[in-house]
Symmetry: C2
Subunit: 338 residues, 2 copies
DNA sequence: CCGGATCGTCGAACCGGTTCGCACTCTCAA
DNA sequence: TTGAGAGTGCGAACCGGTTCGACGATCCGG
């Protein structure tokens, strides 16, 4: 493999001159520049990433920490990952993907060893164990998901409160007075998945303010349990005319459940979910939903992270906490109660 | 950040001694070793990955190239990725994830710059453009998917021929004499997705040998087109009593299609798919299937790759082409035709 | 005609590890 | 008494880039 020394020799200049000719950081005569570029082509020279990282203390790699927990829905995560990966590449960065179960150890490993210039954390918990490590790291960090303490990191998340309100308001406007909400499993909440109760509390509050009845329940993250959960909810609340789904697995399972009960949407039941458009297409879901915009969030996180890495915003400049406003995508699964 | 020089100073030894004490590559007195380890703890020393890569020409990183094409089904890919990622970690390697559309350029970038010690290629096409580049690279490569030319790389894939035969035999044994097969979109084949016709041809051959009629068709990769495709197939072949699905999107869309037609499984139609168990659970699919074992394939690819990287098998030792035998998972969606 | 700025290039140092060769100290057997 | 050999540690070189300071040449204005 050719080194910059080989390039320099072929071009008949010193190593430093070759380096400057390629980086453009000092004035170089056009003749020399031409000879260097020629040599690069001739030798097929590509700089050695390790050597460059050592010299510049920049790796042009961003660490992406994604946890695939038993009780969360894997395909939903993929969307965030792709948003992050594609955006990073647009900015010249590669992605080091970490799916290790022990996120804290992994995070320490890749930051301390300087494998990455920055970190993106996915599915962040209320009190995330990885956060103290990230704050102590030399590299900047961006989160997708809202923790209790946002100091020292940039945070991006869907406005789950607004999402909850939006769903309730929408059904209220259509005339529904009793509805049910199926959230993620309760132990996701216990583990610190704050987005679950952020949406739920806002929905409950909005329902209360309008004199609606809202039955808040939790659903499993897998089949066949989640199917049973849905049936149980519908059995328990025969008067409910609307169903809010903040649980991807439940949304995916709902068509067959309704089929089994002989119910049709929106005639027998109005349904509104909270998931991305991509998700809806993938899973053939015919329900209106509050768009969760995972690709947009991943994109925002990387953009801000790159700004920090490249020093466009100073280390001590205030960190941002930005919420994406949810939008309701109408797929015709809601109507007035009959 | 502490360097090995700091460790050496604190321990009162030379840098080389500190290095040997940590690597264990030379005999070191227990006293010195203790002092070095002490210093490491005290300073929180972690070796700099770039420096180590430069010195050893080993990065302990594996490149994972995954293409997310419009006409393929993204969540299915995730399973391969996780199999690869987790296995790599078990062997001490991290994953550099590349999702760039231009796979050839990306591959050249990460191999030439020596960012990775080896490469795993996903969704390999019959005549994959990335293959010549991989062969020319200094690093070994492992594929998941079967190309026309397997020289210079280790190849792992599902035995799609066997899968096709298995599906046909299973339905034949139950008494079916006319069945339909829905494959991936035709342009996946045109692009070189050989697994589509490998399964299809074997299925056709098996059907012919048994005097069965098999209607081979292609289906889209997305809703709502794939739903229309399924309806068209069922309309066109009212005599068909069995349906073979080699198309994840079609499998995911089938429940609602059958619901729409008022058909029930296996009473009105026997259905058998080709997808992973994980996929079936995620998408709540109640159909028997030929298990495609993506995690196992990812795992096998990484294991072999690591063996090559670490020189356990020589550069010139013959490369392997290994097929995983499909297994039929019975979920009760097939029966004798009525 | 001289002095200072500007341009273009080079040598050397540095980033932070690993590894080779050598030297010193002991021990033990001839 | 001496020499071989094992056990330990050190210094220096090397991996392949980047960057700083210096230096010669050219150009300009006074």
């Amino acid at each position: 493999m050719a080194t910059i020394g080989d390039v320099a020799r072929v071009a008949g200049v010193s190593r430093s001159t070759a380096s400057y000719a390629l980086s453009g950081k000092r004035a170089i005569s056009t003749d020399v520049r031409r000879r260097v570029e020629e040599a690069v082509r001739e030798l097929g020279y590509t700089p050695n990433a390790g050597a460059r990282a050592l010299a510049t203390s920049q790796t042009m790699v961003i660490g992406l920490l994604a946890q695939f927990l038993e009780d969360e829905f894997a395909p939903a995560m993929l969307q965030y990952m792709l948003g992050v990966s594609n955006t990073a590449r647009e900015h010249g960065y590669d992605i080091l993907l970490v799916t290790e179960a022990d996120g804290t150890r992994a995070l320490r490993r890749i930051t301390d060893s300087r494998m990455v210039d920055g970190i993106v954390l996915l599915n962040v918990a209320e009190h995330d164990e990885r956060l103290p490590i990230l704050r102590a790291a030399a590299q900047p960090g961006a989160l997708v998901g809202l923790p209790a303490d946002c100091t020292g990191v940039d945070v991006f998340d869907l406005d789950f409160e607004e999402a909850g309100r939006l769903m309730v308001e929408h059904l209220h406007r259509l005339g529904h007075r009793e509805v049910a909400l199926v959230s993620q499993p309760e132990h996701v909440v216990e583990r610190g998945g704050a987005y679950v109760w952020r949406l739920q509390n806002a929905a409950l509050e909005a329902a209360r303010a309008r004199g609606m009845t809202l039955h808040a329940t939790f659903g499993s993250a897998h089949q066949p349990e989640v199917g049973r959960d849905l049936n149980a909810v519908l059995d328990a609340h025969p008067g409910a005319t609307g169903l809010l789904i903040n649980n991807e697995a439940a949304a995916a399972a709902l068509p067959s459940v309704l089929h089994g009960r002989g119910m049709s949407v929106p005639h027998d039941l109005s349904v509104i979910g909270r998931y991305s458009d991509e998700f809806a297409r993938t899973f053939s879901l015919p329900y209106s939903s509050v768009e969760s915009a995972p690709d947009r969030l991943g994109r925002m996180a990387v953009r801000q992270l790159v700004r920090r890495i490249e020093g466009e915003v100073g280390q001590e400049e205030p960190h941002v906490v930005r919420f994406v406003s949810p939008e309701l995508v109408d797929r015709g699964s809601t109507g007035s109660p009959s």
